[in-house]
């Protein structure tokens, strides 16, 4: 279709200034937080209402043009890349909090609302529980698409446990309301299926969430270890003891160094091999027992120090390092690549040993900052994007780690999604029949596949604009 006509048609729907199409404007949208792959979109549309989204999708349906929903672009699996030269439908201008209904513990928001803003605006002792580390930037719509997690999801549940309704514009333009303020509605749980579907079923234009009361009290501990192994054993023992901390996060030496040498230094001991950030929340009457358990387990594994935050200020400081860790590590080099595998928690020690071994063999720096309590690893591979050979080594190293996670009985992704980045690895986890059932379900929403093409499902054909990771041949054998 004629490009000029496309642009003027889109402008007719959403207005001048809500369509970006000049090459320099498109650059920002060529990638997301996963920077290895890039794809050039045809245009960016910034609708400001459900009606506009619906009109845009109807138009794209009539003209047969592929499109991809996009929120804040912080995704780490290339989910919002416009493959097949599609149009990006970005929710950045849909950022109203439509309703805060405290008596019913619900809020209704537009998808472009940043995660952190929701809890801030609700206030009065209530909050939206899922708290991805990217919460200052990422959008609720993106959270829904990825079924995002966060440090406190260990105890309080993931996005799917807190989103009760979504308004979805189907790829042909029809607007449907799935779920609502009540917990259950008659019929298939389409709302549940849309959460975590990575933007492949349509554009989410409204989200109804559960609000929770903020915990009565919180205790935050920092446990310091001289070996990674003792830290990971502590994690599996805490879970096995039946203690359910609200957060149980780990950072290793590479990460500690990066954080402490950055403006967000949090006072982690520079020479530690690993630290655990352990948080307990709930009624203060319960802390004695839980604290005793945690301390005993830390001591059993020779924790050098267990520091308890004395007040909110100290607590915020300990968290500051964790929340900015990915950025601090990223600043060590020109590029980084974040992995997201999950393993049964008792396998943490051996998997972290494997990650260290991979780093050595591929001559790469890998830092580990992750949701240890969930067994959700985030090896952060930092490298020099201009070193010709590095991207290839990075991808191979990443592939080896992913395969090891699956072989340990785990999964390819705990929260970042498959997107473009991991699609070729899907056969490690799923059979042809498994994937066929998923494709059949997708087809009920997105029959011609124009909505976010090229994501989640493996393809044997390489894809023109995208990087080497999606080309056949880099897929390692299952370890």
């Amino acid at each position: 279709m004629d490009h000029t006509k496309l642009i003027s048609d889109l402008i007719r729907v959403v207005g001048q200034g809500a369509v970006l199409y000049r090459p320099e404007e498109l650059l920002v949208y060529e990638a997301d937080g996963h920077t290895i792959d890039k794809a050039a979109p045809r245009a960016i549309v910034l609708p400001s209402s459900t009606e506009q989204v619906s009109q845009v999708l109807r138009y794209l349906h009539q003209t047969g043009i592929p499109f991809v929903p996009r929120g804040a672009g912080t995704g780490l699996s290339g989910g919002s890349l416009a493959l097949e030269n599609g149009v990006v439908v970005c929710t950045a201008r849909m950022r109203r909090i439509l309703e805060v209904d405290i008596p019913n513990l619900r809020a209704v928001v537009e998808p472009g609302v940043a995660n952190i803003r929701l809890s801030q605006e609700v206030g009065h002792g209530y909050a939206y529980a899922p708290d991805p580390s990217s919460q200052a930037a990422c959008s609720i719509g993106g959270n829904v698409a990825e079924n995002s997690g966060g440090p406190h999801c260990l105890k309080h549940g993931f996005t799917t446990n807190h989103v009760l309704g979504v308004e979805l514009v189907l790829p042909e333009g029809e607007v449907v309301m799935l779920g609502g303020k009540a917990e259950e509605y008659p019929g298939l749980d389409l709302r549940g299926f849309v959460i975590g579907s990575e933007g492949t079923l349509g554009v989410v234009t409204k989200v109804m969430v559960r609000l929770v009361r903020v915990p009565e009290a919180v205790k935050t501990l920092l446990a310091v270890f001289d070996t990674v192994d003792s830290a990971t054993r502590t994690v599996s023992d805490i879970i096995a003891a039946g203690v359910i901390p609200s957060a149980l996060e780990m950072m290793d030496h590479v990460v500690i160094q990066a954080v402490e040498r950055s403006p967000v230094a949090a006072g982690y001991p520079l020479d530690a091999a690993a630290v655990l950030l352990i948080e307990l929340d709930g009624p203060p009457e319960g802390f004695d027992w839980e604290m005793a358990q945690v301390r005993e387990i830390c001591q059993r594994h020779q924790a050098r120090e267990v520091r308890v935050a004395k007040d909110d200020k100290e607590r915020a400081l300990l968290w500051r390092g964790r929340k900015h860790a990915i950025g601090a590590v990223g600043a060590l080099a020109t590029a980084f690549y974040t992995q997201d595998g999950v393993i049964p928690r008792k396998r943490l020690p051996e998997l972290l040993a494997l990650v260290a071994d991979v780093a050595k063999r591929y001559q790469l720096t890998i830092g580990n900052v992750f949701h240890a309590g969930d067994g959700n690893l985030h090896p952060l591979i930092v490298y020099d994007a201009n070193d010709g050979d590095a991207p290839r080594r990075v991808q191979q190293a990443g592939g080896e780690i992913m395969a090891a996670c699956v072989a340990a009985g785990g999964s390819l992704s705990g929260e970042h999604g498959i997107g473009l980045e991991k699609r070729e690895y899907m056969p490690l986890l799923f059979s042809g029949a498994d994937l066929a059932a998923m494709a059949q379900a997708r087809a009920a929403f997105n029959p011609d596949g124009r909505c976010n093409p090229g994501k989640v499902f493996p393809t044997s054909t390489g894809c023109g604009e995208v990087g080497a990771i999606t080309k056949p041949g880099v897929l390692p054998a299952v370890a």
Binding site: V176, E183, Y185, F193, G196, K346, S411, L435
Partner: protein
């Protein structure tokens, strides 16, 4: 639509599962669904056999309905057709339990009670408590999305299932999820199968997130002369620092008393549980309760909250509404009972917005009552389904009510997964 006569069918089923595990003709009568008797019942002893039964059903276009423990089999629209019941009680193996990772995997035909017994060895439990755990199977519980009181703290089946294997029409097995507590790889197919009453496939295996048993439990009951006072107490508790595992409102008839009851179950560390039970009782006193005390016979009361009528009433309806809709629906139920001369037992899982209304009376009156009660639930922003009702009532009142969003997509899903319409045809919302 079956081409074979009943006895021929029984023979062919027998060839798959052995004659001993096949019922036909009169013997199949106990497996009638809403009065419709299947030609035969087969009890597969392996997942392979189950798949072969589904292949046979596809070849012969036999309408198939899965059967777990039968505790919720009357949930669903009147079946369009019914030829073959596939009963799952023989698929009852525990496949895996990783106590230190708090996950466990079992076949769909295992009863909830047996599953809990396995978990209990390690002092763990699955925090789902639908009625009749001795008979209810894990698969049936998932397919009917059954729950109990504990959903307030721990969620519904959808929240606790992390991996699922399903045999589709034609007998193809497919899996989704993984045996880890956190996972987003691939689509969350289990969300579609939970609550689908077998309309998209038959669940064969599930992995659940399980929990350590609470170190202590206590329950407390407060009695109020008026529903309004009970409501405001329950709402205050939900918005307070108290963290009950369950919070129920019981109607006077359910309680066997003149008063409305607010029942709280507390579970956790002994100090928390004791402190919270005490604070609950103090609050109730301040809120004008007639009486408020810890109840030692808590389990009996909890059972009444799960089954307000003890399972005797002809009809059991369940409304799902936002919190503030609970008391209005309870009030309307009482009014309608009086108007229509029906007997009403009700109970609400208050914090979850689920209201159970059991009713007895002449069928036309029950029909009127349910239609009006549904209107009330819908008016509150929710819905009302009939979990149990006689055929006559089902002919008067749609089991599900209107599907407000996504019916087109649901129809396409059904077409894609079951193009021949042989899996529980007609039973699901929207006539799927």
């Amino acid at each position: 639509m079956a081409v074979a006569t009943t006895s021929q069918l029984a023979q062919r089923l027998g060839a798959i599962v052995s004659a001993r595990h096949t019922l036909a003709d009169e013997a199949a009568r106990p497996y009638a669904i809403d009065g419709l008797v299947p030609q035969a019942v087969a009890f597969p002893g392996s997942v392979g056999e189950l798949c072969e039964l589904l292949r046979l059903a596809q070849q012969d276009k036999l309408a198939v309905c899965p059967w777990g423990g039968g505790t919720e089999i009357s949930f669903g629209n009147l079946p369009e057709r019914l030829d073959l019941v596939i009963a799952l009680p023989r698929l009852n193996q525990l496949l895996d339990h990783q106590p230190e990772d708090l996950i466990a995997t079992a076949q769909a035909g295992m009863t909830l009670h047996t599953f809990q017994a396995h978990l209990g060895v390690h002092n763990q439990f699955l925090p789902l408590d639908p009625p009749c755990p001795e008979r209810a199977t894990l698969g049936g519980m998932a397919a009917a999305s059954s729950s109990g009181l504990l959903r307030l703290r721990y969620g519904l089946p959808r929240d606790l299932i992390i991996r699922m294997v399903v045999a589709g029409a034609g007998g193809t097995l497919s899996a989704s999820g993984a045996k880890v507590v956190k996972n987003v790889a691939g689509f969350d197919m289990a969300k579609l199968y939970v609550g689908s009453l077998g309309a998209l496939g038959i669940i064969t295996e599930m992995t659940f997130r399980v929990r350590p048993r609470p170190l202590a439990r206590r329950s407390a009951l407060a009695r109020f002369s008026q529903l309004e006072a009970a409501r405001s107490m329950a709402l205050a508790v939900i918005h307070s620092e108290l963290l009950p595992e369950a919070l129920e409102i019981l109607s006077p008839r359910t309680l066997g008393n003149e008063a409305w009851g607010v029942l709280a179950l507390f579970g956790g560390g002994p100090e928390i549980v004791a402190a919270h039970a005490k604070r609950f009782i103090d609050r109730a006193g301040a809120a004008g309760a007639q009486a408020a005390e810890e109840v030692s016979a808590g389990e009996l009361l909890l059972e009444q909250a799960r089954r307000p009528d003890g399972g005797v009433a002809a009809v059991l309806a369940q409304a799902s509404v936002p919190l503030t809709g609970v008391a209005p629906v309870l009030a309307v139920a009482e009014q309608l009972g009086a108007q229509q001369s029906c007997t009403i037992w009700s109970a609400a899982h208050f914090g979850s917005g689920a209201v159970l209304v059991a009713a007895d009376g002449p069928e036309p009156a029950l029909g009127q009552l349910l239609l009006a009660l549904r209107q009330s639930a819908v008016g509150q922003g929710g819905s009302l389904v009939l979990r149990r009702a006689p055929e006559g009532v089902k002919r008067q009142v749609d089991v599900w009510g209107e599907v407000t969003g996504g019916l087109t997509v649901m129809r396409r899903l059904k077409e894609n997964f079951d193009p021949q319409r042989i899996l529980s045809p007609g039973r699901l919302a929207g006539g799927l």
